[in-house]
């Protein structure tokens, strides 16, 4: 297997504060991997570093192929229509790579909303726009920063279904960064735990879910049944 993303010993500092302090992480081609961690553990910094939006102080990031990001909080272009949001997702592709019809086939929920301003949509619909926008870049790996944040469980299930289908049917690699550890561990085969800027645990997601340390810190103190 070849790694689409390999992070080795990554250190990122903002001024004097150390946000990431030695992160090691690998995502193989076509693999779906979870990264869980509490608020302030450095999850979003890692996402920014992967997208090249912040620089590394030490360590290395290797990305093979294209990486696209679904940012935390959706970050849609509120005043632009759904279709424009999607088109701009293909900005790097040039004009020919901005046909949005494939996204509507994938997420039919959006096709009735094409002309609507993205800012007027519900949170779940905005998350779909953000995912669609990222897919427009034709990525080899999709980095999803907080899929479930602020969304109703039913909506989260729909979104998770879309991601799983993409992974299964198109072999898209996914790095799922989640505060909702239960969700992330149930969706992915492998997982990492990030604490205070370091990857402290990693391994099979189902096993991690049974790990008492993970259960205590991230699964509400209950050891997951199973």
């Amino acid at each position: 297997m070849t790694a689409v993303v390999r992070v080795e010993g990554l250190v990122v500092r903002y001024g004097g504060a150390t946000a990431l302090d030695g992160v090691d992480l690998t995502v193989e081609a076509g693999e779906m991997v979870a990264l869980i961690g509490a608020n302030g553990a450095g999850k979003s910094t890692l996402v920014k570093a992967l997208s090249g939006l912040v620089g590394a102080e030490a360590g290395q990031i290797t990305v093979r192929g294209r990486l696209a990001q679904v940012p935390e909080g959706r970050e849609v272009f509120a005043g632009l229509s759904v279709d424009d949001n999607l088109r701009l997702g293909g900005w790097r592709n040039g004009r020919r790579g901005r046909d949005t019809s494939g996204i509507y086939e994938l997420m039919p929920e959006l096709s009735g909303l094409r002309r609507q301003a993205a800012g007027t949509l519900s949170g779940g619909q905005q998350q779909m726009v953000a995912i669609g926008r990222a897919l427009m870049a034709r990525p080899d790996i999709l980095v999803v920063d907080e899929l479930s944040l602020g969304l109703a469980p039913l909506v989260v299930r729909t979104l998770a279904g879309h991601l799983e289908a993409l992974h299964r049917e198109r072999g898209l690699a996914v790095l799922l960064i989640e505060q909702n550890a239960r969700l992330a561990l149930s969706m992915c085969r492998r997982a990492y735990v990030l604490e205070a800027g370091r990857t402290v645990l990693s391994g099979n997601a189902a096993e991690l879910a049974r790990d008492p340390r993970v259960a205590a810190a991230y699964l509400g103190g209950h050891v997951a049944a199973g």
Binding site: S51, L53, Q69, P71, E75, V76, F77, A78, G79, L80, D84, R87, L88, G89, W91, R92, R95, R98, R133, A137
Partner: protein, 282 residues
């Protein structure tokens, strides 16, 4: 009646200049979030340069076009300086505007300048109207239509809007936000320059004409919350007509006062409305 028609047409011509300056402000603000106080200077520089080029023997249209291009270049320059230092952009553009005075005085002196526009007088009813006023409108309206199409229909225009809408997301999808900002400044410079070359034949220009232009342009632009060029056009035209009507029938030139009053009213109304909305959101 003939006075009224003449005043209205004159006002529309002058107002078109305000609208162009205002839309330049809008173009820059939309994309970069910077209120460019050096906007009036683009008009002055382009006007002065046109007068120089014309007296050097360059034909009309060519001279004006060259001046507009130079103004666009000046826009990029101001953009480079203003967007380099986040947070200080407003003060920087103000400083650049004042610095432009020095440059203009050194190059062109402190005397008013003008040049001939489109010759000829038209008779509408029994009102006599200089043809140049109609030329201003004939250029301005298509420019606004083109700008609307650019922002509304092209991917580049949408990418510019995206930068204003969500800078972070723009970077995430790979839009070069800084380059888009400079493009917006170039557009703002060109629009300001166009205002200068179009209105100078009817209103001579001095190094400090930018004050009138920027105040009126700002008043026009703020009607649309600094983000809607179409509203800036309507606002500019309205402002121009109001001012010429007041000057014509009232017998005094209250250009700045009218603009400031309008601006103040709009800002108070918008602040009240924003406050009300914030109250609902809470």
């Amino acid at each position: 009646m003939s006075d009224l028609i003449a005043y209205v047409v004159t006002g529309l011509g002058i107002g078109a200049g305000y609208a162009l300056v205002g839309s330049g402000l809008v173009a820059i603000y939309r994309v970069t979030g910077v209120v460019n106080f050096a906007q009036g200077a683009f008009a002055v520089v382009a006007a002065m340069l046109t007068s120089t080029l014309l007296s050097a023997g360059l034909p009309h249209v060519l001279a004006e076009s060259a001046a507009v291009l130079v103004a666009a270049g000046a826009g990029v320059l101001v953009g480079l300086i203003a967007t380099g230092e986040p947070g200080a952009a407003l003060i920087i553009t103000l400083g650049v505007g004042v610095f432009a005075y020095a440059v203009e005085i050194v190059v062109w002196g402190d005397q008013p300048r003008s040049f001939a526009g489109l010759p000829g007088v038209l008779t509408v009813g029994d009102a006599r109207i200089q043809a140049h006023y109609l030329l201003i409108l004939a250029v301005t309206v298509p420019v606004f239509v083109a700008m609307g199409a650019f922002f509304g229909r092209t991917d580049l225009g949408k990418a510019l809007t995206a930068c204003a809408s969500n800078r972070y997301a723009a970077r995430v999808v790979g839009i070069d936000v800084r380059r888009m900002g400079l493009l917006a400044f170039a557009l703002g410079g060109a629009l300001g320059g166009l205002a200068g070359v179009l209105t100078t034949p009817i209103q001579q220009v001095t190094f400090d004409s930018d004050v009138t232009l920027i105040v009126n342009g700002f008043a026009a632009a703020i009607l649309g919350g600094l983000t809607r060029p179409g509203v800036a056009l309507a606002g500019g035209l309205l402002l121009g007509v109001a001012q010429t009507l007041i000057a014509g029938f009232g017998g005094g030139a209250y250009q700045l006062e009218v603009a400031l009053l309008l601006m103040l009213t709009v800002m108070v109304v918008q602040a009240t409305r924003a406050g009300a909305l914030a109250g609902v959101a809470r």
